[in-house]
């Protein structure tokens, strides 16, 4: 595996004082930073793969809170303007969801005071908490998983990836898409036509339509489109063999995926959760409960981010369990 994506894109979206501390900071790479967290008048915290760190005013990563750099009001104000690209009006929809995706597929989460209208969040103002989530494109992340997805007849199973946040769902999905789209010669798999519905612009990280991440040569990306509508659209317009999408959870998503199955399209999707029970607990996905997904991959962090903990088949029987042994 190799970490391809540099962090440069993130620095452009940091407020000047924090950018000064972190830019070209070797520590950021050595701890393989996952998140940069800004909280008003609280210490700046960098979350690495196995510990979190404060940053002192010289840019050194430390564990003692005494010398930690405190995020100022100015930092938050600047960051808010930058991440909205100085244009509050063009980010209404994304602010409603609480995050903005920037070039490179990094996601910036925000929290503050919500403005609610008719029971729905209309916008977020007085932003005081900002989380820069660093997206990592890891070529080869799917090497292990891919063997379980391929059917004996060189087709693929409908696959669901379940994982808690920050365990590598999107990274795994992206690499599965890349490998299936390119085809894998050594395993004698031809390339599939893949329709990728990238509602959050995280998987392909399109910038003006062009994928910044490698999602393969036979992949068509529908960027920033609501999943359910996007699935219908791609089936009609691009004749995909496989539909791939991130973070399903709404009833409409289930409808669209059923429609896909009826059209003979295979599906690879991800979902928030910690194990297979979470799928059965989701009322919204009731239609998908019985045997829709033929392979269910559960991710965790037993051996760092992106560890494949378990793989189930469609009856819920364990095919693989982390510990190194197959069941």
């Amino acid at each position: 595996m190799d970490y391809k994506k540099p962090l440069d894109e993130i620095f452009d979206f940091l407020p000047p004082n924090i950018k000064r501390l972190l830019k070209n900071n070797i520590h950021l790479y050595s701890i393989s930073a996952e998140e940069i967290r800004l909280r008003l008048n609280k210490p700046l915290i960098i979350i690495g793969s196995d510990s979190d760190y404060f940053v002192d005013s010289n840019g050194c990563f430390i564990h003692e809170i005494e010398n930690a750099y405190l995020t100022t009001k100015e930092d938050i104000k600047n960051a808010t303007e930058i991440i909205q690209n100085f244009s509050a009006y063009s980010f209404g929809e994304e602010l409603k969801n609480g995050y903005i995706t920037i070039p490179g597929g990094h996601r910036i989460g925000i929290s503050g005071r919500t403005i609610v209208e008719n029971g729905y969040i209309k916008s977020i103002k007085d932003i005081a908490f900002i989380n820069y989530r660093i997206a990592k494109e890891i070529i080869g992340a799917a090497d292990k998983a891919i063997d379980y997805i391929i059917t004996p007849t060189s087709s693929i199973y409908n696959t669901l990836i379940i994982s808690p946040p920050q365990c590598g769902k999107t990274t795994l999905l992206r690499d599965i898409v890349r490998q299936l789209s390119n085809g894998i010669k050594s395993k004698n798999i031809k390339g599939f036509k893949i329709g990728l519905v990238d509602e959050r612009s995280e998987i392909a990280a399109c910038f003006f339509g062009e994928p910044r991440n490698d999602v393969g040569i036979r992949t068509d990306v529908l960027d920033a489109c609501p999943k359910s509508q996007g699935i219908f659209l791609l089936i009609r317009s691009m004749s995909p063999d496989i539909i791939a999408t991130d973070e399903i959870g709404k009833a409409e998503d289930a409808d669209a995926l059923m429609e896909g199955a009826n059209a003979g399209v295979k599906v690879i999707a991800t979902m928030h959760g910690s194990d297979i029970e979470d799928l059965y607990k989701k009322i919204e996905l009731k239609k998908l409960h019985s045997n829709y997904f033929e392979r269910i991959i559960v991710l965790g962090r037993s051996e760092g981010v992106g560890t494949i903990e378990k793989i189930y088949d469609k009856e819920g029987k364990l095919l693989f369990k982390y510990l190194g042994q197959e069941v």
Binding site: P15, Y89, S90
Partner: protein, 172 residues
């Protein structure tokens, strides 16, 4: 003969001086009008295609001319190259660096400055209202400029000629 040429030159140069001074009023009026065109383009970019400010200003800059081209390009550059980290500062710097040689008065610049404080800060409906308000205010300035032009242009032109004539009378 020599006397004739000399006096003619005096008359011509003072008249030109008068025209030069009076043209300032005309230029101010033109600059205000062109600002309105540019801002109308900016409004379209914002309201109809929700283009973010750095790109919107760039597009407007491309289609504007003279000082407003420079002005909007500077705003765009200040933001995209992260020379400034807030809209207000980027806008302010563009005013300071690009409008010092213009014929705009301080009150015009002040109006523009105040607009920079709210540009991009709210949703589309709100931005629309701000634009509308700005046009109304700008119209006032335009009217004032027109009034001043009417009153002063002729006066300075006549004064220029008369000054020349006066010098001649004194000299001859």
């Amino acid at each position: 003969m020599l006397k004739g040429i000399g006096s003619l030159m005096i008359i011509i140069s003072t008249s030109l001086l008068g025209i030069l001074i009076s043209s300032k009023y005309n230029i101010r009026l033109k600059e205000i009008r062109k600002l309105r065109f540019s801002l109308q383009m900016l409004e379209t970019e914002i309201v109809y295609s929700s283009t973010p400010i750095p790109y919107a200003c760039y597009n407007v800059g491309l289609k504007s001319d003279n000082i407003w081209k420079k002005f909007f390009m500077t705003v765009s550059e200040n933001l995209t190259e992260r020379k400034f980290y807030s809209m207000e500062e980027a806008w302010e710097q563009a005013i300071v660096s690009n409008l010092k040689d213009s014929s705009l008065k301080d009150i015009d610049k002040e109006l523009l400055r105040s607009f920079g404080k709210i540009l991009g800060k709210s949703d589309i409906e709100d931005q629309k209202k701000h634009f509308k308000l700005f046009y109304t205010q700008l119209e006032q300035h335009e009217k004032m400029a027109e009034e001043e032009k009417k009153n002063n242009e002729k006066m300075y032109k006549t004064m220029g000629f008369l000054l020349g004539a006066a010098i001649l009378i004194i000299l001859v």
